[in-house]
Symmetry: C2
Subunit: 411 residues, 2 copies
């Protein structure tokens, strides 16, 4: 059907285009496929009972207020709760530093809206979170990439990248999506020091920080930055904007995230958010506040860690058993994903085609690379499928990889 | 506090700036003020009991699925419900024509994102909905204005405006925000005919269409456009994009709206929405679907109409009694707002300053005019305050206006 809209699309829609891989991923939505392609939390760990009780209490105690328009900044007691939560990690802020967003994805969109002019270069890890690229492509962002290894962003390559004048640095230090890799402590220090030397601020995206299954908690980049600048003062300095979310601790379907930023940046974000969706759903904010009151989520997170840690271990064990030695993969200390690297003569998109025939799926790594490299990499999710499905799915995927590596199947 | 972010804002933030009037409106948030400034529905009409029951049923019947990530397009049964609702108004679409948005405001943002390049001219009524201007200013929109009178957009002036090549026309035909005015039937026909002659598509924003308190329902522009193009076929032609919302029939705090558009436009909107907030909250969509099943909202809307119609009548009566004859106002057939026009020697912002001292508030009309005209106009909301407060508030406002008109108070 042709309409008068056909020739009216904005330039920016050319870059939001759907890819061949997205078409391929549609095949992975068949119900009989064991899919490691999504980034879905396990539905088994959603606190359904606590959520149900919180809905009841909120509607009883707040009545119509829970369904009315509310402020763009977000529900003050929820922002205060985030202030207290943040203080436990040695970051001292006030509610003026907090904006509630409709999921962390909205924080990325709003930051793009207030900071990115067409052609601005953003320094990102390669690979990096696909959602950030989708959000920022719409504002005409270009990217400067710094390669990753198993210690996270390669800070030896960072200085050269900083010399080409990025607007800001975007980093996911904990159990990164897509690689599952954690930025090592000495590299966090190095990142803070170099960012200061070149006067480039940082956006730290931390959706999974609380989902650690082994090793010690590492201080956030925002905390290290504050210490670097003033060891004694203990108040937020503001050169790092920090993002997190309720999606992985409570549930993603309520769409609640938050931004920590200097008050002046928060004011700009609030103005942008007003034109974008007025405010985040009132009811959802009240319910999240109610559920997380009295430390419930702190207890609940232990269950989540236990479930995901078992699934990760089952997956790593099955990969040891079924994957050919030519394939390499990361050992994530937390989060939802691990990352596989195929021999250079294999293309992950070809492997996926064959995998789908065997009723198992993953995401090829290329779309996570702003420079379109990474054709031989793959992101594998371990949080969503049950241990039994993980065993079986990795067995099937191992079979496909063995066939591909031994060349028994034409590419 | 100065941070490394200070000099990094995008050009577009210059135009999202907060205005002097916004500062003034902050004063109107004092709890002892009778405020006609907001656009809030009456909390008394929210279907709290039905909403509470729907939450219970959704969590019991859907369990974890209600809290999981879901598709960007929106919950299919809710889209199907909208298809059936729309068919009752003689518009025949499929779920592929429907996108669920995080409130109608998000529909405006996404439409701006996919259609507006910097410098594009949008044809709007003057005055028009402030939220559309806020959404589109961020993408660098310019405006061509067509004046309003008590029959809506002046279609005699439309043709000249169309000659200057707007990208699209934006119109609120029913009980417009801010004026409360309804576009007359013959002007709707004229609009459709002229839009076709100049090949310019239309965005029809209809948040209040079901809130009519007197007179007959008028066919939507989208319906008239379809009839104009093909009287027999009875399928959606696609040159009018239609927006509506659950904010005024269910509740605004759940943030649910929808767009009806050609499938190709929906696909572009979906891609844009993916980068913006992934999807609208799953739980909220399931609950809205549950609440509006079995025709509940159709019954409930009758209560809303009754309450708002009484408030409108009380306000119109009080204005007749207390306002000086030099002030003129509209008689809205539905919606939430009416519009006052002061004598040309008065500035509504000055009147507001004095009104706030008398503990009553409204919104000066200037921000609703993209060309910064309308200094002597005012938007007055009648849905939120109780009839008693409306009486008292209009009495106070009448006093202020009498003083101003008679020159007893210096401007």
């Amino acid at each position: 059907m042709h309409t008068a809209w056909d020739f009216r699309y904005a330039q920016r829609t050319q870059r939001i285009g759907s890819s061949a891989i997205r078409e391929l991923l549609k095949l992975t939505e068949q119900p009989d496929i064991i899919s490691f392609a999504g980034g879905l939390p396990a539905p088994e760990v959603f606190p359904l009972e606590a959520f149900t009780e919180a809905c009841e209490r909120v509607l009883r105690d707040f009545g119509a207020q829970a369904l009315q328009y509310s402020t763009t900044e977000g529900y003050l007691p929820l922002r205060e709760q985030i202030v207290r939560h943040t203080a436990r990690y040695d970051l001292h802020i006030t509610p003026d530093n907090v904006l509630i967003t409709s999921g962390s994805q909205q924080a990325l969109d709003l930051l793009g809206k207030i900071f990115i002019n067409r052609g601005d270069r953003i320094l990102v890890e390669s690979p990096t979170y696909l959602g950030a690229l989708q959000a920022w492509n719409a504002y005409g962002a270009e990217y400067i990439t710094v390669p990753m290894d198993k210690q996270g962003m390669n800070t030896a390559a960072l200085e050269e990248a900083l010399r080409s004048g990025p607007k800001f640095i975007y980093v996911l230090p904990n159990f990164q999506n897509p690689t599952g890799v954690t930025l090592a402590l000495e590299r966090r220090h190095k990142l803070v020091e170099l960012a200061d030397r070149y006067g480039v601020p940082i956006i730290e995206d931390d959706p999974y920080g609380q989902l650690r299954y082994e090793g010690d908690h590492l201080p956030s980049v925002v905390v290290l930055d504050d210490h670097f600048r003033n060891n004694s003062e203990h108040c937020y300095h503001g050169n790092v904007i920090y993002l997190s979310t309720f999606s992985k601790t409570l549930a993603p379907g309520v769409r609640l995230g938050w931004v920590i930023a200097p008050p002046e940046v928060i004011r700009k974000l609030v103005q942008a958010k007003q034109g974008t969706d007025l405010h985040t759903a009132t009811f959802n904010q009240l319910v999240a506040h109610e559920v997380s009151r009295a430390g419930f989520l702190d207890e609940h997170i232990k269950t989540i860690r236990q479930v995901y840690s078992e699934r990760r271990d089952v997956m790593l064990g099955a990969m040891d058993r079924y994957f050919p030695p030519e394939v390499d993969w990361t050992h994530p200390e937390g989060g939802l994903f691990l990352w596989g690297t195929l021999p250079e003569y294999l293309d992950a998109a070809d492997v996926l085609k064959l995998a789908v025939k065997q009723k198992v799926a993953f995401v090829p790594g290329e779309p996570f690379h702003p420079d379109s490299s990474g054709y031989n990499t793959m992101r594998i999710n371990f949080s969503n499928a049950t241990p039994e499905k993980i065993q079986e799915g990795i067995r099937r995927l191992g079979y496909v990889l063995q066939e591909k590596v031994s060349g028994r199947v034409a590419i």
